[in-house]
Amino acid sequence: MEFDVKSTISKNRLLGLWRLLSGYKSIYSAAVISLGIAALSKTGTYMLLRYFTDQVLLDPSTRSQNSNLINQLFIIALGFVALAIMEGGFTYTSGRLAARTAEGIALRLRNYVFDHIQRLTFSYHDKTQTGELIQRSTSDIDALRRFYADQAIGVGRIGLLFIINLIALLNLNTRLGLISILVVPFIILTSISFFRKVTKAYEAYQEQDAVVSTTLQENLTGVRVVKAFARQEYEREKFEKDNWEKFLRGRRLLMMHSTFWPLSDILCGAQMLGGFIFAAMMVINQTISVGTYLAYAGLVVWLIWPMRNLGRLIVQTSTGLVSYDRVMEIVKEEREDLITGNSILSGPVRGEFIFDKVCFEYERGVPVLENITFHCPSGAVVAIMGLTGSGKSSLINLIPRFYEYTSGKIFLDGIELKNYPRAFLRRQIGIVEQEPFLFSRSLRENIIYGAGRQVTEEEIISAAKAAAIHETILNLPNNYQARIGEKGVTLSGGQKQRIAIARALIKDPRILILDDATSSVDTQTESDIQAALNILMQGRTSFVIAHRVQSVMNADLIIVLDKGRIEQIGKHNDLIQQPGVYRSIYDIQTLIEIELEKEIASAELMHKSIETE
């Protein structure tokens, strides 16, 4: 990132918005200057009209000389065209520069915020709502774009038009100039208060619009329920109510508009007409010339009418300021450091872990893990068991440094984990979750996601085969190109998991973190997944969150966690000898098989007795 948005943060929002312009300050200033030149050209046009009237049309001396007149007329006509080209050219330049600024800033902000969010810590994401983040990254950034593109420049345009034309008017005649703006403060105030109200009414209208959409959506997604209970009539009435309310709110909004605009028309019209009469009398009294009157009549239009829109811009600007705060609240969060670390290794790690009295807590004073100590040789399989909330996931989350342990030490290959750069460490680790998150892109892209290198088709297919998902993929429309999600295919939990296994195989990490399957997949799938996992674990240090004894029996080390502490640790054969949690789990498994036998036997018996009857 060449530009650090964080450096622009300021408590003063206007200052912050100014700093956000960094790199565009001169372009944006040029946009404002162009606006000024355009406004000046417009004023120039009316001054030329004045000259044309007084010096050409009404001057008897020029009238008599034919050739002179044609020359003069030609020059004046050219002058009008030139001024129009200037005005148009600079209006366009200003618009283009403002657009470049606004779009450029929006682009920069979007990219920055996107990158920033994905680099924030896990704890930040734990406590932040997804919807809120998306809202801020999209609508609020767009509000900032509009701030630069329309609002700030719009206020500037109206201001410049006002100042330049007012100066011109005052130059024509001071008294006339002052009289012409009597009503302006009044127009601005009414317009601000009107747009405040109308904004509220509009929000109410939008809210109702959301209600209508929700009702419609629920009706559509619940169409089976509606039909099953034959509730079409009821649904119609419900929709009618919401729909009608929206109509009423829309009508209220329109009532406001249809009052404000004509009233302000009368106000502005009266001001104009009053000025015309006053100026006309001055001409009759020979205080000003006819040309001055014409110039005045032209200029005053640009002084009064745009004021009606100033209120709208000012009200909108305040929403831009709110958006600034909302975006900056994200920006000011600290990123996770991915690259610094004392230990710079070139090759892959071996994967030997030592946990030494490791403690961890999410919130101060609420320990989640306490005194975790164990040794895991390179290439070993560590199974972790425990109840929900016993700390299994927390323990595993420490390994890729998703969270930092609060005391104690973890060593990887003899070097403390904190010394490894996070990005390096995470490249060494593959994770297969129980219900992995897949991206709404093709299966192929999901499999190579995170590989960080070019992957050949053969590699993808052999990984998919090893993960026992190749056949399933071939049965889908579009095979590996099938998209996941709304418009594409939906996969079951077990299938998603196998995609994640293929993904991990492609990544080929030294360390593995697995979450064993529990979802009710059929026996065949279950053994397929188990086989795939076994292939995956070969030769890698693996941490497995296990749910059943069968899958941990061959582990090199079994850790049973309870309330953040190690309750039991050892190999299957050792643990089975000791009284404790592990043995009782083991016993239950055996018990289940016995019960099943009983159940089937009794069913057979019953069946036979029915038959013999």
Partner: protein, 601 residues
């Protein structure tokens, strides 16, 4: 990439006059309103042109002639007309605006009501998002066209017309010069508007892609981080934003160029007026006021031209919207009540499927020659692999679909001879993913029988096993369930939908059991509720739980659209075939869950 973007924007390239007529027909009930806003807007634009003319007369007859009396007289007319015009402005904003809202309302209502009649097959084929866009945005665009679009173009045409008239009145030779330029202006303006519109649409597409990218990267942020995919994600995203940048920058600068371009062309007209007008003034053929009026007319000509161009450019898109909207309204329901359908029939009784064939798509048969006889009060459990046809049997039973061939009879009569209402109002359904509507719990339960009293609702909840958890909530039965019920857990939603079914006192009960595990307490409550509901009723259950399966009078193992195994639990178990395998697996799974919460991760 491009294909995706224009995906929904297919519209006929030329303007379809039949559709246009149909759009205009929407205003039929409101002819007076349309006449009202057309009249007021014409008066407004006529007055606008007249004001410029009055200014001319103020200059010529008041100022240059140095006649204060005439000045005041004309000003008085001017002033009164300002007030009159304000009235008309009020009129057109109100009339066109409210009519726009009204037509929007009408369209939404018509589409919604029509949707209620359409068959389930329509909803299976049509994404919810597509329908939503028709009802929300297309209705907006179409109503916008017949109100503001009609109004703006009338205003624009009237303005050009009246301004031209006054110009001809003032000096017809000069007027001809100006009028020669108008078509050029309109042509240029339309070209611009079209280009701008295309760019805007493109940037809107990118914008929704950007939102989707944010959405995905934020919801999947843990995976992104775990796989160190930050850099690649960023690069992909940057590509998207830079595309967005180019299209919206282009749209913005095209818009910024539009008015100046029109202005510059009209400046040529002003130049000509100065040249010829100056010459003519010498012979007294035009007055100062006349020249001023010409300048004013030309300067403000760009507004009507802008409006005309805008409406014209949007016309095509509005017509495309209308075509999509009308396509929805023209769709006929697949399942229809036959003429002379019986609406009053005893549903409690035997149900028979006789050689029923069914397919959702023509060449993919789902049920073939399916035959089944169910006696009143029997409980049938349907088991078997996904895609085997279990849900289809239920769908046909509810008459969400009708058999392609073969007959389904209820109490001896072919059920297509009954009204849909007669069947569906007597069937209670609990779906696998229970669907609730936003509102209170009470509202949702009452959906089963609208006229039920609070006591009835509570009684039904007690029977369904939902009462206990509901009373433990802060607001009890008045607790809000959130959008689509998302404030509640799946198990709780299921209990509520059970209570809803109980309240409807159905003759036939259909349930699709949830596969996802709920906590043991809720599970046992659901079982209890089901038991109460099934008592004495014919029921079909797509069963996943062993306790449910064991209770069934008959178990059907459905695979490939056929009944592969059928019988009681012990009969089937004894066969040691498909059912046996399914059962033992589920048995292990359930016991594991029951014995050790340790297994639930």
């Amino acid at each position: 990439m491009m294909d995706e973007i224009i995906e929904e924007e297919e519209y006929t390239s030329q303007i379809n006059s039949r559709t246009l007529l149909r759009i205009l027909e929407l205003t039929k009930p409101y002819r007076l309103w349309v006449a009202g806003f057309l009249l007021t807007i014409m008066l407004v634009s006529g007055l606008d042109s007249f004001f410029t003319y009055l200014s001319k007369r103020i200059i010529d007859e008041g100022i240059v002639a140095k006649d204060p009396n005439t000045l005041f007289r004309i000003s008085l007319i001017y002033g009164s007309l300002i007030i009159l015009q304000a009235l008309f402005v009020f009129g057109f904003i109100y009339l066109a605006g409210v009519l726009g809202e009204r037509i929007r309302y009408d369209l939404r209502k018509r589409m919604f009501n029509h949707l209620q009649d359409l068959s389930l097959s329509y909803f299976n084929q049509t994404p919810v998002g597509w329908i939503m866009s028709r009802v929300t945005s297309d209705s907006e665009r179409v109503s916008e066209l017949v109100t503001w679009g009609l109004l703006d173009s009338t205003w624009g045409l009237m303005n050009i017309l009246t301004a031209s008239t006054f110009m001809i009145l003032i000096n017809w030779r000069l007027a001809l010069i100006v009028m020669a330029i108008i078509p050029i202006l309109i042509f240029v303006a339309i070209q611009f508007r079209k280009k701008i519109l295309v760019e805007f649409r493109l940037s809107r597409k990118f914008n929704s892609k950007i939102t989707a990218a944010f959405n995905e990267n934020i919801t999947g942020v843990r995976v992104v981080k775990a796989l160190s995919h930050e850099e690649e994600s960023m690069n992909e995203f940057a590509k998207l934003t830079s595309q967005m940048y180019s299209s919206s920058y282009r749209a913005a600068w095209l818009s910024a160029l539009f008015l100046p371009a029109v202005q510059m062309i009209s400046a040529l007209a002003i130049g000509s007026i100065v040249l010829y007008g100056g010459l003519q003034a010498r012979y007294g053929m035009i007055t100062i006021g006349g020249i001023q009026a010409f300048v004013a007319y030309i300067t403000f000509m760009m507004w009507p031209i802008q409006d005309l161009a805008r409406v014209y450019a949007e016309l095509q898109h509005a017509i495309a919207s209308a075509e999509r909207m009308f396509s929805l309204l023209d769709t006929n329901p697949e399942v229809l009540d036959r003429p002379d359908s019986i609406s009053d029939w005893k549903i409690r009784g035997d149900i028979e499927f006789n050689n029923v064939n069914f397919a959702y798509e023509d060449d993919v048969p789902v049920l073939s020659e399916f035959t089944l006889k169910v006696s009143a009060g029997e409980m049938i459990a349907l088991v078997g692999p996904t895609g085997g046809g279990k849900s289809t049997i239920v769908n046909l039973m509810c008459r969400f679909f009708e058999p392609r061939s073969g007959v389904i009879t209820i109490n001896g009569i072919d059920y297509t001879k009954l009204t849909q209402e007669a069947i569906q109002s007597r069937i209670g359904v609990v779906l696998q993913t229970p669907h609730l509507f936003s509102g209170t719990i009470k509202d949702n339960i009452r959906y089963g029988r609208l006229e039920a009293s609070n006591d009835d609702v509570e009684q039904a909840s007690v029977l369904a096993g939902a009462h206990e958890f509901i009373s433990s909530l802060e607001n009890g039965y008045d607790e809000q369930v959130g959008e689509s019920g998302n404030m509640l857990s799946t198990g709780q939603k299921q209990l509520i939908s059970l209570a809803r079914a109980v309240l409807s006192q159905p003759d036939i009960f259909i349930m699709d059991e949830a596969t996802s595990s709920v906590d043991t307490l809720t599970e046992s409550r659901i079982q209890k509720g089901m038991e109460n509901l099934m008592k004495g009723r014919t029921s079909f259950v797509i069963a996943h739980r062993l306790s449910t399966i064991r209770k069934a009078n008959r178990i059907l193992y459905i695979e490939g659209g056929k009944i592969v195994e059928t019988g009681t639990h012990s009969e089937l178990l004894n066969k040691r075939n498909k059912y046996y395998r399914l059962y033992t697996q589920q048995f292990r799974h359930e016991l594991e869950l029951e014995y050790g919460p340790i297994y639930t991760g």
